[in-house]
Symmetry: none
Amino acid sequence: MPDQDPKSRAEKSLAELTKRFLRLLQESEGGILDLKKAVKILAVNKQRRRIYDITNVLEGVGLISKVSKRCVMWIGSLATTDVQQTLTRRMTDLRSELRDLEQKETFLDLQKFWIEQSIRNTAEDCSNLIYVNHEDVCNCFSGRTVLAVRAPTGTKLEVPIPKVVHRCPTKYQIYLKSINGPIDVLLLSKRSVSAPPLVLPVPPPQDILRNNRVDVLDDMESDLPPCQASVYPNPTSRFERPAMKDIWSSCFIKAEPTRTPASGCEY
Amino acid sequence: MPDQDPKSRAEKSLAELTKRFLRLLQESEGGILDLKKAVKILAVNKQRRRIYDITNVLEGVGLISKVSKRCVMWIGSLATTDVQQTLTRRMTDLRSELRDLEQKETFLDLQKFWIEQSIRNTAEDCSNLIYVNHEDVCNCFSGRTVLAVRAPTGTKLEVPIPKVVHRCPTKYQIYLKSINGPIDVLLLSKRSVSAPPLVLPVPPPQDILRNNRVDVLDDMESDLPPCQASVYPNPTSRFERPAMKDIWSSCFIKAEPTRTPASGCEY
DNA sequence: TAAGCTTTCGCGCAATCC
DNA sequence: GGATTGCGCGAAAGCTTA
């Protein structure tokens, strides 16, 4: 007598049932599945018995685990769908990385806090020692010749595009024009970083120029026009490191033997 | 008729059979297993039927695949053995935890470093402010009456075991004997923690004793012998908190209304 | 603690398949 | 005819309750 059920044997196979069961398990909340529910959904018939076959085998392989009476849980971090599995693993990794990063952030935040605290303390305790001296400035432009300029408002600073002379390195010039008062120019030599800055009167006496020029300017093009600078008294003794603020606070001009075409001067 | 087989149901379970089957599959050449062989090895009995349950379910999950009639092949590039899998996961977890802990350790180490640094800085900057005053001492023995004693070397301090008087709380006495010089005793009252310490001459004038005694000693047994103390000039004005070191640095005696049997005095 | 109900599941008949 | 496999009986295992 033929089966009333048109379904072929294959459609009712254990393997097929297993797949559906798996799908159900996959979709269930937290990977936990109530067998009663599974029976209701999957096996409209008396297939209940089969569910046990499935759960037993899966438990044997370690893909699921009995959580409580009537409930099993998906354990296999491994074989879901290939794709699902990859995604799950990826998510786990990302979650882990996120936790790591958050921890690092906290770490850095605290470190920052302590450093700031330390700076605050130091600044407070040493407030009378906080200033910039010419040595500090020189160190900021290590290896370059630094000119400090103080001039009244309205002073014009001009750096004309240098004439390109074949075979000769480009020569830069700086022009300063003031109609409201004298201009002060201070040369901070990198050579004498541990000595007080050299101050020249305007116009510089020829003998001083001759004696000092090579010494302090030999890093610049050697035939720049002579420095124009007003005399500025050195306010401290020779053996104390004068703070920059004690001389003047102003803007600084870096002069360097660079080959940059247009503006050879930054400020 | 009882089962000849003493094996419990669990020992014959599908899950158990599955494990053995898996092991066999794992060990087999190329992951290919002949079911006939499997039946022969695993199921000594008529368990043949069960093997089909297993293969069907495993095929459903996609862990194995029929290679030919009677032969299945292990597909799971993933799930190693049950045990292996568990161990791998466990190891991963532990590794992750270890990394976490190491990070936390570094974190704490650095935090410790900064705190120590902060303490160092503060200690350095405030070295002229670091001392203990009588208030600090009082706070160390909160709720107790504190006597400070300074005496020359050779001074003997004696606290005889108190006589136990029925119905009466134990009374403690302290004897100080010096043959090399005067003894100084300073009473630091917890009551007047914000006021300079009270200093009494030796022997204390009766009127002062009468006026102050209850006030400063009411926490001690009320009929202790009168304080013996030499006059010690208060070196600071009434409104400045005198540093302990400015008075004297010495040892301190805690006197308290305790019921401790033998030594009622620690130092 | 036993009776009674539910959940599990060993087991193997018998239908199918090849 | 041997290999497979759907199917479901009925007993063991658990739980609940009286």
